[in-house]
């Protein structure tokens, strides 16, 4: 029962990632693609935590922290590059 609800939540998050990837392909500007990348990585944090609970291993939570750090640093570095140059 609990695993069924968690599986439905994981499928809904995967649909959100696909919709965000569609905006990544279509988006007519650079900044549209940056915000779609941010949404993909933050949603995949939640997805990895759900998969860690379904498979029962605590070690997968470290991967989620690494995704969080990567997403945060990437968006800030791209923002600084756009505004001021290298």
């Amino acid at each position: 029962m609990i695993n069924t609800i968690l599986l439905i939540a994981a499928i809904i998050i995967m649909l959100a990632i696909f919709i965000s990837a569609y905006r990544f392909i279509i988006g007519p500007d650079l900044v549209d693609r940056v915000i779609s990348f941010d949404l993909i990585t933050v949603s995949s944090i939640a997805l990895i935590v759900i998969i860690a609970s379904l498979l029962g291993k605590i070690i997968y939570l470290d991967i989620a922290i690494v995704y969080g750090i990567l997403s945060f640093l990437s968006v800030i570095i791209i923002g600084r590059y756009i505004e001021k140059g290298m």
Binding site: A9, A16, V34, V42, G68, G79, I82
Partner: protein, 111 residues
């Protein structure tokens, strides 16, 4: 104990619905600044609720779950603020329906 786990699973489901609505807003909004509002606000809250639900189900993982929640809560709004400011300064097009522009008089770029 079984009821507590079902409550945790329902909280995770509500969090995933928030993430889905945030991505839907990213698809349908007419302008870049609307998209960034819909995307980051909804996805930050949805991720926090999802991780909290998983933390209620397996309460031995509470330390790492709390670290994850505090990290997402503090860094996601900061990164979206940086990208919104950069997009304003390189003169991204505002939508045709925008009526209020409070930053216009305070910048030194001729917009």
């Amino acid at each position: 104990m079984e009821t507590l786990k079902i409550i945790g699973a329902v909280i995770t489901l509500i969090g995933s619905i928030f993430i889905f609505l945030g991505a839907l807003g990213l698809l349908r909004m007419p302008d870049f600044f609307n998209r960034i509002q819909a995307g980051t606000k909804a996805s930050t809250l949805g991720t926090m609720l999802s991780i909290l639900g998983i933390g209620i189900i397996n309460y031995e993982w509470a330390g790492k779950i709390i670290i994850l929640i505090v990290f997402v809560f503090m860094t996601n709004p900061l990164s979206s603020h940086v990208i919104a400011r950069a997009a304003y300064y390189i003169k991204t097009n505002l939508s045709s329906r925008t009526v209020v522009d409070k930053l216009k008089s305070k910048t030194d770029t001729n917009l």
